[in-house]
Symmetry: C2
Subunit: 277 residues, 2 copies
């Protein structure tokens, strides 16, 4: 078995690579799968991107991202729903079964987390059947609590599951991303709960490093550089029944400043050393 047989590289990790360069590098390095982002896919052309990855034999493990479903104003909400339907369509065209959702933060001036979470559920009730009809699963990604106000009011895996479990398993599930949940002593139980009901729709890795940069968005650590016991998390998620790809998604200014193929090679190596073996 190819040691990288379950490795997937998220496009954002090496965003300095054009889509054709990314695909070529994956083929050359025997990386079998990619996670894609809507913006660079749209830039290249959706149909062309779908053909490019298909012809290269790559699996598309996820599309990032839908979500941002917490708006209060009816017009903003209508726009968000339309955008999410478009994202679902794009996922189907790309041949991936998973659309990652970043649920959205508090609307300006609001301090009501409970109501924001409930608006996400309302939106999912409209989007989930639409996704299901197209063979796409919506994967709610809990984001680290440091993003609770401005990006995602869903901060723990248990919260994500509370939302997902209101819908059919093949329509709504969760993302398990070590960067966001590594600190949480209740997350292992939530992983087991998610796996037991088939709700793990994506498994992503990044390491936790400090100091965090200003804005805290682009400080995700290369595998092995930080505080996360990545091997233990892999074992935990696999013990919960996960047999799918393991996607590495790093937002890191330092990595983006380097040669993208070199970063991909390093990341695959770290995956083997810190996660897989």
């Amino acid at each position: 078995m190819n040691a990288l047989s379950h490795f997937s590289i998220n496009q954002m990790t090496v965003k300095q690579l054009s889509l054709p360069s990314l695909v070529e590098a994956c083929v050359n390095l025997a990386v079998p799968a990619v996670g894609l982002w809507r913006e660079p896919v749209a830039e290249y052309g959706l149909e062309a991107a779908a053909k490019l990855v298909r012809d290269a034999g790559l699996t598309v493990t996820s599309l990032c991202r839908g979500g941002f479903l917490t708006a209060l104003e009816p017009d903003a909400r209508t726009l968000a729903l339309a955008d999410n339907r478009a994202a679902i369509d794009e996922a189907a065209t790309l041949g991936t079964d998973t659309l990652v959702l970043v649920s959205g933060g508090l609307p300006p001036g609001s301090r009501d987390l409970v109501a924001a979470r409930e608006r996400i559920a309302d939106a999912l009730s409209e989007l989930a059947p639409y996704a299901g009809e197209r063979g796409v699963r919506l994967a709610i990604e809990p984001l680290h609590p440091m993003f609770a106000s401005d990006r995602c009011v869903v901060s723990t895996l248990a919260q994500a599951l509370d939302l997902a479990e209101r819908f059919p398993t093949d329509q709504v599930g969760v993302v398990v991303d070590t960067y966001h949940i590594w600190w949480d002593d209740t997350a292992p139980a939530a992983v087991a709960r998610a796996g037991g009901s088939g709700r793990i729709h994506s498994f992503q890795l990044a390491d936790w490093v400090t100091p965090l940069p200003a804005g805290v968005l682009n400080g995700r650590g290369q595998l092995g550089d930080g505080a996360v016991d990545l091997r233990a998390w892999r074992e935990l998620v696999e013990a919960a029944g996960w047999t799918g790809f393991i996607e590495v998604e790093l937002f890191n200014d330092g990595l983006w400043a380097r040669d993208g193929v070199g970063v991909l090679e390093e990341t695959a190596g770290r995956y083997l050393d810190c996660v897989f073996r």
Copy 2:
């Protein structure tokens, strides 16, 4: 009743003020209580500081801070325990019944959160009786999960309570600080649990504002500037039985750059507007 009768200003909020200036400003503004920090107290002189606040009639609501109890090496652990005993003594001298503990992060190279938390419990078993004999309560402060690796492996109020409840109530309790727990949907239940067993030893406020600055330490928002429903948290903590002071502790480069008395006045005003009324 003086509207500020339960207001306490943490020294760090206006760290640009010398201790005598802080005390004078509190007296002038009818602020009845302060939370102190060890370093500026030591700089002024422990006994002199104790006399200064006592003579001014101020209540010392807490001393910050003990903790950092996660070291692996025996020598480092011995040092930490000695330092915490000194902090307990200082708290007693200052006439406060509460020493705030920031428990400590992962030691260099370690990825074992569970073991680090257990070392905190081990240390508490040595420190708690010492504190109890001196009339000082150790207050475990859960820090926001963004500090889990480098400052505090205790990230939720529930975790803090799990630790505290191993010890007598009058020896070990918790800090409820809105900045650290506002995002957590399990925190309200933990507040009730803490209050029901008399484990709330300190109630602190700060608001959550973004973007976070590099290093994320000094980005705490002035009351009312951010995402936290401060009034709701006050009501929640009071519903759990809290009748003590409410301490405002802001680490904020912008506030520190301003006139300290003005910041104290503004903070008292915000407390009245955003928390109390």
